[in-house]
């Protein structure tokens, strides 16, 4: 059973971990915000050393993007307990909303961007009403279906012989001409990540959040205690969609080119869920920690990082496969041994020990 993190009183050991964790997090955050600034022309001409090159910008921006995806998924999957497998649809809808408005209607980015979350949220509210009547596996499969279908529809819908959304060619957006583009998109994505964490923080402290957790724990009991379960579930779904759509919108302009493949990838669904689970679903910082850790791991394993593992017996084209295998193993180990996520050790009630793993194994075995 997942535990509501905001409610637990940490143990003495947990408190020490939490302090260390917060301190480390603070240092990383400060570095993450300040280091990229050294790429500004003014600072460069003043002789500052460049702390972040283009590749690191790209990786950091993508990491922030996954923080948004995993944390937004957490609102539905972690807090409400509905395992949504199709959130990538909202990412794609956000990206295409931005893409169409910018490339076809020639809107400026900052006018188009707010519409991306709106479009995604509207779509989520629409499909959420019938979808969220389903529970458990049925909901998971149906949401996956929606996730796949939306991408197909967007790629294939035609009007008088011409594809409406660019078809299989996709959409090309005019390059956002501004100085220090990398820096702008990095801060945009980090801003979206901060917004998502902030929204989660607010939700966890509100009546809304308690209602969602009550639904997760026992929907019938929640209903007779006065929780409007349908409205709450749809609201959580739409909120997650809005945040996911925002990331999609930023991605569209950042990447300049979007098509079905790069904004509706099915593996994003799995990755965002895995990130939330590994970090700790239902907690505030779990999905953040999971996203940073797993994204780095995926990139490292697939050889996209400047530091990579060179194993003599491993041909370089086998690396993505190895990444998949390791991710699969990680999912197994997490679900069986660390069902509450690693964040449980950092300020939670538990301490990482052999006894903990044994207890988890007992809890999770049938």
């Amino acid at each position: 059973m997942l535990r509501a993190a905001f409610t637990t009183k940490p143990t003495e050991g947990g408190r020490r971990w939490r302090r260390l964790f917060l301190l480390l997090g603070g240092v990383v955050l400060l570095y993450g915000l300040l280091a990229p600034l050294t790429s500004l022309d003014a600072l460069q001409s003043a002789g500052f050393p460049l702390l972040a090159d283009k590749l690191w910008f790209r990786i950091a921006t993508a990491t922030a993007m996954f923080v948004v995806l995993a944390s937004a998924w957490n609102l539905v999957g972690g807090l409400t307990g509905y395992a949504a497998f199709g959130n990538v649809a909202f990412f794609g809808i956000g990206a295409y909303t931005c893409g169409m408005l910018i490339s076809r209607a020639h809107w400026p980015l900052f006018l188009a961007l707010p519409l991306a979350p709106l479009a995604s949220a509207a779509f989520a509210a629409l499909v959420g009403v019938p979808l969220l009547r389903l529970r458990g596996h049925y909901f998971a499969v149906a949401s996956l279906g929606v996730g796949v279908a939306v991408g197909e529809v967007i790629q294939n819908v035609e009007y008088r012989g011409t594809p409406v959304f660019g078809g299989s060619t996709g959409l090309f957006l005019p390059i956002f001409s501004v100085d220090n583009r990398d820096l702008v998109f990095y801060f945009l994505m980090v801003g979206a990540a901060a917004l998502t964490i902030g929204v989660t923080w607010l939700v966890l402290r509100s009546r809304f959040g308690y209602g969602l957790i009550a639904i997760r724990e026992n929907e019938e009991a929640a209903a007779v205690m006065g929780v409007n379960t349908t409205a709450y579930k749809v609201a959580a779904f739409a909120l997650a969609a809005a945040l996911t759509g925002l990331a999609g919108g930023i991605f569209a302009q950042w990447n300049v080119f979007i098509n079905q493949e790069n904004v509706f990838p099915i593996e994003y669904n799995v990755q965002m869920i895995l990130m939330a689970l590994v970090g700790g679903a239902g907690t505030l910082f779990g999905p953040l920690a999971g996203a940073v850790f797993l994204y780095m791991l995926i990139q490292f394993l697939s050889g996209s990082l400047p530091v990579s593992l060179d194993l003599p017996f491993l041909p370089s084209d086998a690396r993505p496969v190895l990444a998949q295998v390791i991710l699969g193993l990680l999912l197994l180990v997490t679900v069986i041994f660390v069902p509450r996520g690693v964040i449980d050790f950092f300020g939670g009630q538990s301490r990482l020990s052999l006894a903990y793993l044994r207890r988890s194994l007992r809890e999770t075995s049938v």
Partner: protein, 250 residues
């Protein structure tokens, strides 16, 4: 006669061809403790589900202070000030005892609806009332069955109901625990809440109820003052069986 707070008129509920409730009518004036008894499968829990909006009626009407509430969703029934417990307890397992009760105070009847801080204060009051104050900080998984039943009541009371539907809160308790639970029911009633109580335990019906109704195969078999109802020959035959009849005789 005082105006009824809750009134059922010819309430009917079918599952396939089986009529779980077949034209059940009764009314509960404000301030009463109203007991409903009946053998297993008599339709007692179905009746509560029909009142609290978990089931839709197939016929008849449920009136709350004179206005029909049939067909309303459970959360809207709760908002009117009708709280309930479940026979099979349904705690929010990841939360502490205090948080469970606080959810009741955060939602529930429209005038209750407290913001989080006050909701936790209200939760503490309610836990005091049902005798769980000392266990507020525990996770619910650490509670015994009698305590989980108390928590079930605490959550419902926290919603500030004007009517509380209790579904076998004393089933499975030993005599000492039943006495404690009776005290709890009286304490809740003393705060001005009307109570409809489903029970198996005779002592409870006689001990606290102002009025009792016997349900048998979805129909009302008898209704009246508890002692009178329990002496009714049809009731003894249909529900209490030979053993109780012998006890009455001996």
């Amino acid at each position: 006669m005082a105006a009824a707070q809750l009134e059922l008129r010819q309430v009917t509920k079918r599952f396939g061809g089986v009529a779980a409730l077949d034209g059940v009518s009764f009314s509960v004036p404000p301030g009463q403790i109203f007991g409903i008894i009946g053998p297993n499968g008599a339709g007692k829990t179905t009746l509560l589900n029909c009142i609290s909006g978990v089931y839709r009626l197939d016929g008849g009407d449920v009136l709350w202070q004179g206005a029909s509430i049939a067909g309303r969703a459970p959360h809207r029934v709760a908002a009117l000030g009708i709280g309930r417990t479940f026979q099979v307890v349904k705690p929010f397992a990841s939360m502490t005892v205090r948080e469970n009760a606080a959810v009741g105070a955060l939602f529930g009847s429209a005038e209750a609806h407290l913001p989080p801080r006050q909701a936790f204060e209200r939760a503490d009051e309610v836990l005091e009332l049902v005798g769980l104050a000392g266990k507020a900080a525990l996770p619910v998984t650490a509670l015994t069955i009698p305590d989980r039943k108390r928590l079930e009541v605490a959550r419902a009371v926290a919603t500030r109901p004007r009517l509380l539907l209790l579904d076998e809160v004393m089933a499975g308790l030993n005599p000492v625990e039943v006495d404690e639970a009776l005290e709890m029911v009286r304490a809740v009633h003393a705060t001005g809440v009307t109570i409809v109580l489903i029970e198996h335990v005779m002592r409870v019906i006689v001990g606290v109820c102002d009025r009792a109704l016997v349900l048998h195969y979805g129909r009302v078999l008898a209704e009246g003052e508890p002692r009178t109802v329990l002496k009714d020959r049809r009731v003894i035959e249909a529900y209490l069986g030979e053993r109780y009849a012998r006890q009455q005789g001996g």
